[in-house]
Amino acid sequence: MLPSELKPEQFNGYPPEARKLVTNDLAALQRLPLSFLPSLLREVIEYDFKFPVERRALERELANLKSLSREQTKEWFQGFAGIQISAELEKSDWVDAPAQFVEQLSAHLWATHQLDVFRTAALAYAERLRAAAPPELPAMPRLGIAVIGQGVAKAEEPLFRKLRPHGAYFSSVQTDNGLKVLLDAAAARAKAHPVEYGHWYIDGGQAAEHDPELTCVSYHALGPARAALSSKIRAEIERPGMGPESLRTLLAQLRPSDLGMGGPTDQPANLGPDRETGKPVDAVLDRFQVKLLTEGSGTQIFSTTFAQWAAREALRRAQPLTLLVRFAPRQRQKPMNEMLVGGNERVELDPLGSLVDADMGAYYNWLNQQRLTGAEQSSFLVWFENHGEALIIGPSTPRGTESSSAANLQQLLSWMA
């Protein structure tokens, strides 16, 4: 089927808000090439479970498409229109399963050497869209915080090497109540500028006590969901014919209730109490957390990967004003000879390896924050937990500098503004 043949009733399987959105703009969608449209529908079908800022961005994108004349649409999408799609892809159910289509399209583009053409077309479209429907500016300058090295007595290599050229390094930071100071600072920002899903706390271990104004995601709290996912995967891979691609498709279809999370249904309009805690279910956050585990590679196994990926996805999707990420020690990767001996099921931790992971993770957090609007006003702080080393980056922070003067974290936060 081609986009020009789309009819409103074909979207009956979409969640209610998404259905409304897509059927309102159907005429505009019918003009789009098949090499592009399912990528858009992949976002639309998730509309009911998207963060507010994502919803508004999607609405702007659809409004822009609606505003284009037939000729303009042709011009905007000429790069995509030149991409050859196989008959098999054309026949697939790309309306109801756009994510699967996109995955198959990706394989098709690689195999037919059209990936570069697609990439160029996608970049050109993103640039035009950014100009025509600019992304929102943040309500206040963004602040990113990374806390790394939990449980490490002494770092074996110099820290923050990637970030040092961009900010000021401090070697004598007072550590008293450091984590609390940072969490309180995040909470104060949340209170001063209350924005739904605007202020986040991600913990790679067990979350510390924090203000409920902060949207919190933690590796520890997802323990039961991780275990449920793990047994589901184990059961599935035993089935004949199950390959990596079928497994990925299956994972993409998992919902919070499949992993024992949330309320009795996954519909955002039907927010019953959480089965475990009795608190109101946050279906948007639950769906986000499930995606972290089912779409992120390594997030199920290594807590450092989980924290970095969760931060990346929170920044990309929710575009928070404040994001505090605390990395925790991940499990140690057993060498081969230990695996051969077997028998030792105890999970050991690798704090030093985790520090190296987290140091790189902090750099990625900063890079991802700087991809958002308002980057020139954004600030970033990374602290070696319970140690005197920290680094700050901000609009008025001198780059590539070092200081051994005594300072506390509150002062560092105030100097970044």
Binding site: E43, A111, R119, L123, E245, S297, I301, W309, R330, L367
Partner: protein
């Protein structure tokens, strides 16, 4: 959407810049000189080694490593063996571009056929075009014991021979999957095989089923003169699957001395799990193992002085700057960094301590090996590398 903003510099230009940067790193750190294509004058003729005596060992990494963790100043600490021991004795090619699918099995198969293969990376299928092993054995009428592949990943069990008409079954390389062999040797008892066999880091938990002519356990003793007990005992001293592969490769060289030996390493690909420390550890281990293999080659009488070695990653990994990826973790964006890699060539006739930065393609490897060993890679898309033949 798929990807977002980046500079409008073309992919080719980025590959070229990347190659120049690599060249500069090497010139300053390893003291190599800039090579020129004008120097080429026939490697085979220069060596004077009879065609029958020539051997080739190819070492690929199924899981590329980026410059910043290897050849850039901040990465050189991770590859001391390459920097100090291998590069000064090698011709180093800074710009090997892979224009094919960036999945490890299909990309390694493309390296082995000289054609950008287009099959599903995750399927247990043979390459669609003749492999170097088939050209070698058919053209030169070599026995099956003269071409071997050692690969840690179970998914590679079909790489030894294609399904191409007039080549294919019976004409390819014997394939050893040491991890699989180890699992068979231990009969699944006691060990944490579920983790050990989890060799596809892109899809955790998944262990591909085998199909095809993989090396049987009883052949350990028959061909490699290695008892199952000794094999198991030695494995207990090793920390990674790539160490096991190198151990098996050494046994092969010692017992059978194949003329064409292909070793695929995979430890670096732990990067897909998102743990930077384990990725860097993988690079350091691979660097050490490459150094050890080169030393083994120099100490084996059948190989010393008549063996050309090629070391190359199958492709790179995503750039930190590309928002479509997640930095070192994957190779999904198809950006210049993930497509552009390098190659190191060593051995008789290869000019030492030179760096070449003109663009090559991954598919040029097989025709180059063909020129050295004396077979014609008739269906390969690439061409012999002028500086080496």
């Amino acid at each position: 959407m798929f990807c977002s903003g980046r500079s409008d510099v073309s992919s080719r230009e980025l590959s070229r810049q990347l190659a120049f940067t690599r060249r500069d790193f090497l010139r300053s750190a390893a003291g190599v000189a800039l090579g020129s294509a004008l120097l080429s004058s026939g490697l085979a003729a220069r060596t004077g080694i009879p065609a029958k005596k020539r051997k080739v060992v190819v070492i690929t990494f199924g899981g590329g490593a980026r410059d910043q963790e290897t050849f850039a100043p901040e990465g050189q600490e991770n590859i001391p063996h390459m920097m100090r021991e291998l590069i000064p004795q090698a011709s180093f090619f800074t710009q090997v571009v892979n224009r094919g699918i960036l999945g490890h099995y299909v990309a390694t198969a493309s390296l082995a056929t000289g054609v950008y293969e287009t099959f599903n990376n995750f399927a247990a299928v043979p390459p669609q075009h003749p492999t170097a092993f088939e050209y070698f054995r058919k053209d030169l009428k070599r026995p099956s014991t003269d071409a071997w592949v050692v690969a840690p990943s179970n998914g590679f069990n079909r790489i030894g021979e294609s399904n191409y008409r007039s080549y294919g079954p019976g004409l390819g390389a014997r394939v050893i999957l040491p991890k699989h062999l180890l699992a068979a040797a231990n009969n699944g008892g006691g060990a944490d095989y579920e983790h050990l066999l989890r060799d596809n880091y892109e899809t955790p938990y998944f262990t591909p089923e085998l199909g095809g002519g993989e090396f049987e356990l009883q052949q350990l003793e028959m061909l490699l003169k290695l008892s199952v007990d000794d094999f198991k005992k030695h494995a207990l001293t090793l920390s990674s699957p790539d160490e096991l592969s190198v151990y098996i490769a050494r046994q092969l060289m010692h017992q059978l001395a194949p003329s064409l030996l292909w070793i695929t390493m995979h430890d670096i690909d732990i990067a897909h799990a998102g743990t930077y420390s384990l990725y860097v550890e993988g690079i350091r281990r691979t660097d050490r193992l490459c150094g050890e293999l080169w030393k083994s080659i120099q100490s084996e009488p059948e190989y010393a002085g008549n063996t050309n070695v090629f070391i190359l990653p199958d492709f790179g990994r995503d750039a930190d700057e590309d928002s479509g990826g997640n930095g070192f973790q994957h190779h999904r964006t198809g950006d210049a960094l993930s497509r552009t890699t390098w190659m190191l060539a060593m051995g008789p006739g290869v000019r030492e301590g030179l760096v070449f930065d003109q663009a090559l393609q991954s598919t040029d490897l097989v025709p180059t090996i063909g020129s050295i060993l004396g077979f014609s890679a008739a269906y390969a898309q690439g061409k012999p590398i002028a500086e080496l033949v």
